[in-house]
Amino acid sequence: MNPLVISAHTLTSATGTGRQANADALRKGNSGLRACDLESVRLDTHIGRVAGVEGIALKDRLAPFQCRNHQLAELGLRQDGFIQAVEAARARYGAGRIAILMGTSTSGIAATEQAYHRRDPATGELPPDYDYQHTQNMFSLADFVATRLELRGPAMVTSTACSSSAKVFADAERFIAAGLCDAAVVGGVDSLCGMTLHGFNALQLVAPGPCRPLHAERAGISIGEAAGFFLLEKADSGAAGPRLIGYGESSDAHHMSAPHPEGLGAARAMEQALQRARLPAEGIDYVLMHATATPANDRSEARALVHLFGADSRATGTKGLTGHTLGAAGAVGVAQALASLERGFVPATAGLDQPDPELQLDARMTAEERDIRHVLVNAFGFGGNNCSLLLEAA
């Protein structure tokens, strides 16, 4: 594939607002998880909640979009000079030549949950101020980002559960290669809501304490929220930065909510990413795993890694820091990988004081300082939907 330059990016998660705070937490292994303190959800679990989301007010042309997901998106967009970078790109390419490709799993469903609490007791009607199109509809995230950044390129929201915001990188490569646009703003946003917390709880996939990926006694996920955005440009555009050099996508064709036990789909996605990049497995410094911390997910993904890279390959799982941010997980993983490429370290796997020997991985509780050239980032979702992205240092 033609590599794409990531010329600007930003991340906001439970471990911090903006790149610096997230990179620091990633290096020190400082977790952003805390006991669930959402007003609307009473569950005995830990969450990765972003500070300051509720204080964001969306005004004027953004006012119809007001909901937790777009408040979080707005908070994220304001960091790291991202808006200014897109403005410069818009001046260079034109608003119609920059695609807006976003990933989310539940969009602004918290707005619908609140509206249901305020239904007319007699008729069941939703309240008149509830705006479905600009909050809960799946497309509203791309609509919001396009409106906020004044872009008019090809736009869509990819929603394939927890691989959503990884797949948009592959979409961007194809859209640019097809000549539909010259550059793309891609990213992912998912926010805490009753549906996912209660839903994963019903599936008995939620850990009571902070999640512990790759741990011998891992007991399930902690749900988090995050917003990550990236500006992608062609390699021959003169833009500088780290590069996306490969992607792979596959389906498990196995089960709606359980991974393939041998990690076949995961292995296929990683293999394809290596092939597109024309890089051998030995060229990968480490894999930033999906590693949600459920017993089955981590086992399945570890088997895929052992199949491709052999036993004891270098790997890390970062959801003990941010929680599992679902549709934003791909964006979080890519931003974390970029921090590691830029600053030269393998991120810590938070809480890993007892690695699961069955997994046959070299994952460590503390960060390892060394130069990094290539990272593979995994994001897998319900429906057996897999995506793997290969990133290269600038």
Binding site: Q133, N137, D171, R174, H198, E249
Partner: protein, 258 residues
């Protein structure tokens, strides 16, 4: 971008499949409105079939029809829906208003936008990538662009299924999708004697209306029914030009050659 249409699937009020709808779409027979009948999917084993919803069955019906004559084992697919499974969203949001919320695990895993895509890959034992997307009222065009760029990148055939169920009572005012509708298009590389679509994004432009008034009334009832003007051209077997609404107020200009 140039792609061929190798096969079409269709389900909607008064339409059971593309072959039987063709004389109506071509204007040779009158359109007779009748409630859409969403059949069970034959591709899934009985156990899995019981777990499907109307949204999954609707999507799989047109996917199955459009791929009846092709090898499904490595086929890439795009599932495009404005709203996803609103019936499930309704039930879960309702459950969340209870003092002790109980969400059904099966409803939760079927609530993801890619539930039809996941069921399709399981039903066809197909490890190729399957994606799911939305473009609100312009979902059909978002799906066409995604499918065409997938085809352009790696060749082969690509399935596009665009579908939405009708909104249930609670959502009827805020999201008036009044009929279930689905269309399946099997895209293939251009140049094999099949109808060809030459597509380009336009700045803006009014969508082409249906030639027939009865179909024009149907076009606005569902984002997937925005395909009707294109289906009319394909059914007539002639060339033509169709403008469809693209996301963010843009347009997709399509030149059809038979």
């Amino acid at each position: 971008m140039k792609v061929d249409i190798a096969a079409v699937g269709l389900l909607g009020p008064g339409f059971d499949d593309f072959a039987s709808a063709r004389p109506v779409l071509a204007g040779h027979e009158a359109y007779v409105r009748a409630p859409a009948k969403i059949p069970p999917t034959s591709l899934l084993p009985a156990n899995e079939r019981r777990r499907t919803t109307d949204t999954i069955r609707l999507a799989l019906k047109v996917a199955e029809e459009a791929t009846a004559d092709c090898d499904r084992s490595q086929l890439r697919s795009v599932f495009a829906s404005s709203s996803g499974d609103m019936d499930i969203i309704d039930r879960i949001c309702d459950a969340l208003t209870q003092p002790e919320p109980m969400v059904s695990p099966m409803q939760f895993h079927n609530s993801v936008h890619n539930a039809p895509a996941g069921n399709w890959s399981i039903a066809t034992g197909n490890p190729a990538p399957a994606t799911a997307l939305s473009g609100f009222d312009a979902t059909l065009v978002a799906g066409l662009l995604e499918a065409a760029t997938l085809l352009q990148a790696d060749g082969g055939k690509v399935l596009l299924a665009a579908y939405d169920v009708a909104s249930m009572a609670t959502f009827r005012r805020v999201r008036p999708i009044t009929e279930p509708f689905a269309v399946g298009l099997l895209l293939a590389p251009a140049g094999d004697g099949r109808p060809t679509l030459e597509m380009a994004l336009g700045e803006s432009g009014d969508p082409t209306p249906c030639r027939q008034d009865a179909l024009e009334a149907l076009r606005g009832t569902n984002p997937a029914a925005r395909a009707l003007p294109l289906l009319e051209v394909l059914a007539r077997g002639e060339g033509g030009h169709v403008t469809l609404a693209a996301p963010l107020g843009r347009s997709l200009e399509i030149r059809v050659t038979p």
